[in-house]
Symmetry: C2
Subunit: 70 residues, 2 copies
């Protein structure tokens, strides 16, 4: 399950995966994997991404409904 909210938030900031990665301090592959889903990033990475995109953890990483698939 792709993280479309993250991808959208990044695009709204006119930021490439490479640029977001640089700001966050990881590689672009890592950002790509987070957006692609099927991935379990660390909390600090999520927080850094949120801060760069002006969003909160709930905005980008909290599933409100009962979409399981952990």
């Amino acid at each position: 399950m792709k993280n479309l909210r993250l991808k959208l938030a990044r695009m709204e900031k006119d930021m490439s995966q490479t640029e977001l990665a640089k700001r966050v301090g990881v590689t672009r592959q890592t950002i790509g994997m987070v957006e692609s889903g099927d991935y379990n990033p660390t909390l600090n990475l999520c927080i850094q991404i949120c801060k760069e995109l002006g969003k909160t953890l709930n905005d980008l990483f909290w599933e409100e409904d009962d979409n399981e698939m952990v």
Copy 2:
């Protein structure tokens, strides 16, 4: 920096670290380290903890600090 919100939410549920750990599927040491702070858990672990305690990611893991909305 200790995660006091997590500790409080757990205690409000009358749950020991051991019991929360069992429900979440990790060891009690891991829960202890998350509560002690200075630790970087994975997103899935945070989500599982939130679900067991009836909280959201922002409730337990988002620092509102100086980033107030514009």
